[in-house]
């Protein structure tokens, strides 16, 4: 039996919904509409003139093999960031969940990196891995490994992935820990009495029961990797070496805000919007089926 609360008129529900609708319209629909509109023009930076080019911006972008290559870069980057930050967070959360003493301290410390702004995080990692004067690269040098992310594409990708994941681990950790603590102890104890080892319990009971959290984090982290990582990339690699770390959103940022090519930037953000929209639909359609609420 489902309980359903209904409103008599339409005035009150509208009033209650209004704030959310207004916020969405002002901060989402309006800018998205502007982006779509602008993507059809080549405007000059000062807004003095707009040249109508129809789908010219899209043609120009999709005809550029470097732009097409950055789809692959983005996919690799997003998967790596999502897997790294979620995997590591889950590992830490499982450990913290088992702690009896001092878990508060660990929890607090693990949450800290989330407070660091992306650009600052980027600078921190850059200092540690600076090719010549960084602490980490210096020790790597002692071990005989010549760290050089300004020329080595794989190392550059690794560095931006680690720097982007770092702060994100904290965020994911919080959710995983809450998810773990919501699993009834009795279920786990019952399995333990039946002779299930930790790993079996984790695989057959804990992980499935954690799936709503995991699914939520998957969606949120992919959106993060797609949209919020340009600060880190801008400070560490600026998209290089060559185009090894030029992900789609970084190109939107650098073409639009560094180079004032607003038409191309708008077209790119429309493309990005479509991709992330499609990705979210796919996630909800196929992965959510396997989620046990």
């Amino acid at each position: 039996m489902e309980k359903r609360v209904t409103f008599k008129g339409w005035l009150l529900p509208m009033c209650l919904l209004m704030p959310q609708i207004i916020i969405t319209a002002v901060f989402f629909f309006y800018p998205a509409g502007q982006a779509i509109y602008q993507s059809l023009f080549i405007p000059d930076p000062f807004g003095l003139s707009m040249k109508w080019v129809g789908l010219g911006n899209f043609e120009y972008l999709l005809g550029d093999s470097y732009y097409r290559a950055s789809f692959v870069t983005t996919a690799v980057f997003s998967i790596l960031v999502t897997v790294t930050s979620m995997g590591f967070a889950l590992y830490l959360a499982v450990l913290a969940d088992r702690l009896i003493k001092g878990s508060g301290v660990y929890r607090t410390l693990l949450i800290w990196p989330y407070a660091v702004a992306p650009a600052v995080a980027g600078v921190l990692w850059l200092f540690m891995f600076n090719t010549r004067v960084g602490v980490v690269s210096w020790y790597l040098g002692l071990l005989g490994y010549d760290w050089n992310h300004v020329l080595n594409e794989a190392e550059a990708m690794g560095l931006v992935v680690v720097a982007s994941s770092w702060g994100r681990v904290s965020y994911n950790f919080l959710f995983f820990l809450a998810g773990l603590q919501a699993i009834p102890k009795s279920v786990i104890e019952a399995a333990a009495i039946d002779g299930a080892r930790f790993w079996t319990r984790f695989r057959t009971i804990v992980f499935p029961l954690l799936s709503p959290t995991t699914f939520f984090l998957l969606v949120v982290n992919i959106v993060y990797a797609f949209f919020e990582t340009f600060g880190v990339i801008h400070t560490i690699t600026a998209g290089g070496p060559q185009q090894a770390t030029t992900i789609l959103v970084y190109k939107v940022f650098s073409d639009g805000f560094v180079s004032q090519d607003l038409g191309s930037s708008a077209a790119q953000s429309v493309i990005l919007l479509v991709i992330v929209g499609a990705l979210t639909i796919v996630q909800f359609k196929f992965i959510e089926r396997r989620v046990h609420y």
Partner: protein, 436 residues
């Protein structure tokens, strides 16, 4: 000293604010912090103290790109400053924005303040004037690339630090010897596109782009894949492969390596002088940028980097009068000479160069005159007047990517530069389309 300056600035700010209601305010948005920011603040201070009709207010708006963006955003919102500092890369963007700017020659003519555009060094002025000779923006800080030599590193490798390094042929031999002498970082550079392609082209009097490097029209095409440039990049690529040229990044990351004494040779802006002088714990020296013996018409002259001051449109005549007085003040030889001596930027007026010489600065600081000589040795040609390319920031990004492919050994010089031309031309066509 610092505290004193600050206190002075503070005191005069208070003094000024008491009668500020009478004075017209002139907004100047700039990109300088640290030492440069302090020196800029002193210029403003001196101007404000010298008269009572106008008050110049300087605001730091971030780095060069951020300052330009702030200016653009402000113009769109109708709240633009009177004066905006724009780096040389943004010159074509500003020039194309005819309704957004008020050309400096107009401001000066209307304002009536004393001003002599011909007093500027030809190679500096040329960058910011139209082909008709009208000055559009006021040159502010300009520098040109030179070669920094760590003399101690040469001695450590058992070499003569006075050896001739004027040609890349000689530098190549020096690199061999340095490497053989156990030097891990024989050569490092800053701003690779600016030094090794843009300036290398001008220095050899070969075109970087058609239509006089973009001065004569928006329908310009890149020509950076010519034989001189390809040969240079190829040699650099080989040095990178042999561990003689160490690549440290797209901007001036290499400066840290040179200043720490790790590297023997460093190609960097003359404005890096103050930093090297302050930090280097070794004997260093400044030489002219090397050229390839027998290639092009080298040595021609090198071109500038840095920024100029653009006057934004949409203000009152009275305010423009103040702007013209301030710009006139900035171009006076006292201000320019001081700026040149303190920063390592070029003495952009001829008078400032002569004054600096007369004061004996070059004798006390050998090497600081090199940049000026390199710029003025010959009258600039169509290939060495400067560059005026739209979307130039993005084009530099493309060049960086392609050069990295060469340094990493993924592409040969010809392929990389051909690709840079092709990709850059696409951007130039877009810019042409947007501004036709």
């Amino acid at each position: 000293m610092k505290i004193k300056t600050l206190l002075g600035a503070f005191a005069s700010t208070i003094a000024l604010s008491s009668n500020a209601y009478a004075a017209t305010e002139i907004q100047w948005w700039h990109a300088f912090t640290g030492r440069l920011g302090e020196l800029l603040a002193v210029q403003i201070e001196e101007f404000n103290a010298s008269q009572s009709d106008f008050v110049v207010v300087g605001s730091h708006k971030g780095n060069y790109s951020e300052t330009l963006n702030a200016g653009i955003a402000a113009f769109r919102a109708g709240e633009q400053p009177h004066i905006l500092m724009v780096f040389e890369v943004g010159t074509a963007t500003m020039m194309a924005a005819k309704g957004a700017i008020k050309p400096v020659y107009e401001v000066m003519a209307e304002g009536g303040a004393p001003f002599d555009p011909d007093g500027y060094m030809g190679a500096v002025k040329g960058y910011y004037t139209t082909t008709d000779g009208d000055m559009l923006s006021l040159p502010y800080n300009s520098s040109t690339p030179v070669l920094y030599v760590n003399r101690d590193a040469f001695k450590a490798a058992g070499m003569d630090p006075d050896m001739d390094l004027s040609t890349w042929q000689n530098v190549g031999e020096a690199l061999d010897e340095l490497k053989a002498g156990g030097q891990d970082c024989p050569l490092v550079t800053a701003w690779q596109s600016w030094v090794h392609l843009e300036n290398m082209s001008a220095w050899h009097d070969v075109p970087f782009a058609s239509k006089d490097n973009g001065f004569a029209g928006l329908d310009t095409e890149l020509m950076l894949n010519g034989p001189v440039q390809v040969a240079h990049v190829e040699a650099m690529g080989q040095w990178a492969k042999d561990g003689k040229f160490i690549y440290t990044g797209r901007r001036n990351e290499g400066g840290a390596n040179f200043r720490s004494g790790e590297c023997a040779l460093f190609t960097e802006s003359s404005a890096g002088y103050a930093g090297v002088k302050a930090e280097a714990k070794f004997d260093f020296e400044i030489r002219t940028l090397p050229y390839w013996e027998g290639a092009g018409n080298a040595p021609q002259n090198t071109i500038i980097g840095g920024s100029s001051l653009w006057v934004m449109a949409g203000h009152d005549a009275e305010e423009y009068k103040g702007v013209s007085q301030f710009l006139s003040f900035l171009s006076s030889s006292d201000v320019q000479a001081k700026w040149h001596q303190n920063t390592g930027y070029l003495p952009i007026t001829n008078a400032a160069a002569e004054q600096t010489k007369a004061e004996g600065f070059y004798d006390e600081n050998p090497g600081t005159e090199i940049a000026g000589q390199q710029m003025t040795g010959k009258a600039p040609t169509g290939n060495s007047k400067g560059l005026r390319l739209g979307s130039f920031d993005q084009i530099r990004g493309i060049i960086d990517e392609e050069l990295e492919a060469v340094w990493a050994g993924d592409k040969d010089a010809q392929t990389a530069l051909d690709s840079a031309k092709e990709r850059g031309d696409a951007l130039l066509r877009r810019f042409e389309q947007a501004n036709r």
